[in-house]
């Protein structure tokens, strides 16, 4: 039994990593109505920015703040320079632009910082909390805490601020939003900036756990997609719950289902995405969309 509970804890730990990136995906979806395939790579790049600050001697927490600021500005800049010109183009064009961005950012990080692993400072103590034969790493607890805080902040932003209302209007119907006086362009840029910032938090959190190199987030992306799908693509609470469920399901399937085993556990997010979309397309916490022809 202790073994099983320990597996669940490991699953929650990896789930928190998925949740952190899923939050950024949800955020940009809420703001702009698109799925950003480059989100993970942007998070990785932000982690490198934070690393670069610490490497020149800036204390960790200050480096983190600077990296968040740079990421916010960078996100807005990307929206202005790269996304804006294709704004009116078909949806798929925007998707392909984010794919191009994915390839570009990944290669650029390798070009600037090489593909070797970087020594990323861990903001949390290295040990583990031992309790009743179970152990939880302090790093994992730290990730939980930060993910919880970010989730709370996003919830407040979505539900209780005018910006949150505005961005919902923009992503639902840009033309009508413009008519009622919402600055659509500004809102979209803000969405990219905020998503990049949340992504930066994710990158900095997971860098000490996954080890920082340009492909750090590549493997996380599909799990984060599964988390966001399970939670409902527009709910921050859903993203976190989804992330944790995906993490636990994947770990348990890998450990206890011999037909799956560690090699095929990447089938778990596939099964989850497919299952959710067929049974409850809006996800656990999402709002059902009523179609209108």
């Amino acid at each position: 039994m202790a073994g099983f509970l320990q597996q669940v804890i490991v699953g929650l730990g990896t789930g928190a990593i998925y949740a952190s990136l899923a939050l950024a995906l949800v955020l940009i979806y809420r703001f702009t109505g698109i799925v950003n395939f480059a989100q993970g790579e942007l998070a990785m790049f932000s982690a490198y920015v934070a690393w670069q600050f610490t490497a020149v001697g800036v204390p960790f927490w200050l480096a983190l703040v600077l990296a968040l600021v740079v990421s916010f500005a960078g996100g807005m800049l990307i929206e202005r320079v790269i996304i804006r010109p294709v704004e009116g183009a078909p949806e798929l064009t925007v998707v392909i632009v984010t794919v191009g961005l994915f390839i570009f950012v990944n290669a650029a990080a390798g070009w600037i910082w090489t593909f070797l692993i970087k020594d990323f400072p861990n903001p949390f103590p290295g040990g583990a909390l031992e309790m009743g034969g179970l152990s939880v790493g302090f790093g994992t607890l730290g990730v939980f805490a930060v993910v919880g805080i970010v989730m709370g902040l996003l919830y407040l932003l979505f539900q209780h601020t005018k910006i949150g209302l505005g961005m919902r209007a923009v992503s639902t119907n840009p033309e009508s939003a413009r008519l009622v006086g919402i600055r659509v362009g500004w809102t979209l840029a803000l969405g990219w900036g905020l998503a990049a910032t949340v992504g930066a938090v994710s990158g900095v959190l997971v860098a000490p756990l996954l080890f920082l190199e340009p492909n750090m987030m590549g493997g996380v992306l599909i799990y984060a997609f599964a988390a966001a799908t399970l939670g409902g693509f527009d709910s921050p609470v859903g993203a976190v719950v989804g992330g944790l469920v995906v993490g636990v399901a994947e770990t348990l399937a890998g450990a206890y289902v011999t037909a799956i085993g560690p090699d095929l556990k990447v089938g778990v997010p596939l099964a989850i995405i497919l299952g959710v979309l067929l049974l409850r397309p809006q996800g656990l916490f999402g709002r059902a969309v009523v179609e209108r022809a």
Partner: protein, 429 residues
């Protein structure tokens, strides 16, 4: 009126074909040139494409893009070596070496394309290194049909040495089976009834090493208590490490590539209730893998190696190491000489230098025969006692390794250089 879809394609494609035809016609058929009688009786009729009295053209294929890009550092060390030899030694036997590097993104079809570009368009003398088992397997039928040497491929699969149908292709680094044998022998001596937990990458590399290890421990009291695989696309190996910890094995064999090596080392260090003897395979034994984990967390970890680690202070006063660091600074100022991939490239390039000098004929056939008949060739970047050795029925240039243990901030070599040929007999398919 607007042009039809087909019309547009026709215009574009015709232009393209015309452009390609103009660009390509003069390079002629890919047969290459042959040695004339003047070169000497025994070399007459052999292939001399890509080699003249003053030049030698080589091609290498590496992943410079995509998920395996870390290995893209290797050609930097090779280029620095050849630049140094060209500028200060007059080249290899008076021939200035030109080394053309192409990117395959670790994708086999791309590797085929690039191999053909190098052989047919660039007219290289030989392929000096293709990286990775998939890319090498995809190209070796082609290189052997064309009779182009494909030497010192950068992969440790045992098939390069055991295969008999591809004489033009040969490996260089110790194959994964030899390395596994070294660990097995170490355990037989130190932990004769060890229970071993294994984490391995689910590909040719992981399976070759694990398979070799299982063979080497058969008939002993050493047993495998648990084994877990991971995919290169997995974000983390933490769940696998959790499963292995439950086996309570007393030895942990870490068969991973760099990032996953760091993750496994960190997971082992974090787990206070499981403290096995940690053996990490050579691919992940670089200081650049251990340092991010924290040196205090990797004390006592065991591995094996065959070339000098630029970070290891043991070699601080070593002549070859000093030369390497100085020449890297001079010819590859952007590349950090501490990175072991650069030293790997340097060692492979200087091995090529020796093999080319030993060739009886300056021809493709000459190179093929030379790399298959290396007799105790000493390469200064390799550990003292590790020599290049090939011959009839032995297609593995390096089969010796030495064990090392991590202490303080560096690896410490211990025991003698282990020649796995002598200990276990030759490796056959």
């Amino acid at each position: 009126m607007r042009l039809s879809a087909i019309g547009r394609t026709a215009v574009t494609a015709t232009l393209l074909i015309a452009a390609a035809a103009c660009g390509g016609r003069d390079s002629g058929e890919a047969g290459g040139t042959q040695a004339t009688g003047a070169t000497g009786g025994q070399c007459a009729g052999q292939q001399t494409t890509g080699i003249t009295d003053t030049s030698l053209k080589l091609g290498g294929i590496y992943p410079l893009s995509g998920p395996a890009s870390a290995y893209g550092a290797i050609p930097k060390g090779i280029k620095a070596y050849f630049d140094y030899v060209n500028a200060e030694k007059g080249g290899i036997g008076g021939r200035k070496v030109e080394f053309v590097v192409r990117d395959d993104g670790y994708q086999p079809p791309k590797a085929v394309e690039e191999a053909r570009r190098l052989v047919e368009q660039e007219q290289v003398f030989a392929l000096f290194q293709t990286l990775g088992t998939p890319s090498t397997t995809a190209t070796w039928d082609y290189t052997n049909q064309q009779k182009v040497p494909q030497v010192f491929v950068a992969t440790g699969a045992s098939v390069w040495g055991t295969d008999t149908e591809h004489p033009w292709t040969i490996g260089w680094q110790p194959n994964y089976v030899s390395e596994a044998r070294v660990y097995a022998q170490f355990l037989k001596k130190e932990h004769p009834d060890a229970k071993v937990a294994v984490l391995y990458q689910n590909d040719d590399f992981g399976k070759d090493l694990l398979g070799g290890f299982k063979n080497a421990i058969s008939g002993t009291k050493i047993t495998i208590a648990a084994e877990q695989s991971y995919e290169v696309s997995d974000p983390t190996v933490d769940p696998q490490m959790r499963n292995l910890a439950e086996s309570k094995a007393d030895v942990f064999l870490n068969v991973t590539t760099p990032k996953f090596g760091s993750q496994a080392l960190a997971a082992d260090a974090k787990n206070a209730s499981w403290n096995p003897l940690h053996i990490v395979n050579n691919v992940a034994a670089s200081i650049t893998v251990l340092k991010p984990v924290g040196f205090e967390n990797v004390q006592g970890v065991v591995s094996a190696t065959y070339y000098k680690d630029p970070v290891d202070p043991t070699w601080a006063e070593d002549a070859e190491m000093k030369l390497y660091k100085a020449k890297m600074q001079q010819y590859a100022p952007d590349a950090d000489p501490q990175v072991p991939y650069h030293a790997f490239g340097w060692a492979a390039a200087s091995s090529f230098h020796k093999a080319m000098e030993a060739a009886k004929c300056p021809t493709r056939e000459g190179l093929r025969d030379s790399v298959r008949n290396l007799q105790g060739v000493q390469v200064d970047m390799l550990l003292p006692g590790v020599k290049l050795e090939t011959g009839q029925g032995d297609g593995f240039p390096i089969e010796s390794l030495q064990l090392m243990r991590f202490k303080g901030e560096r690896w410490e070599l211990f025991g003698d250089v282990i020649d796995t040929r002598k200990e276990f007999g030759p490796l056959t398919g």
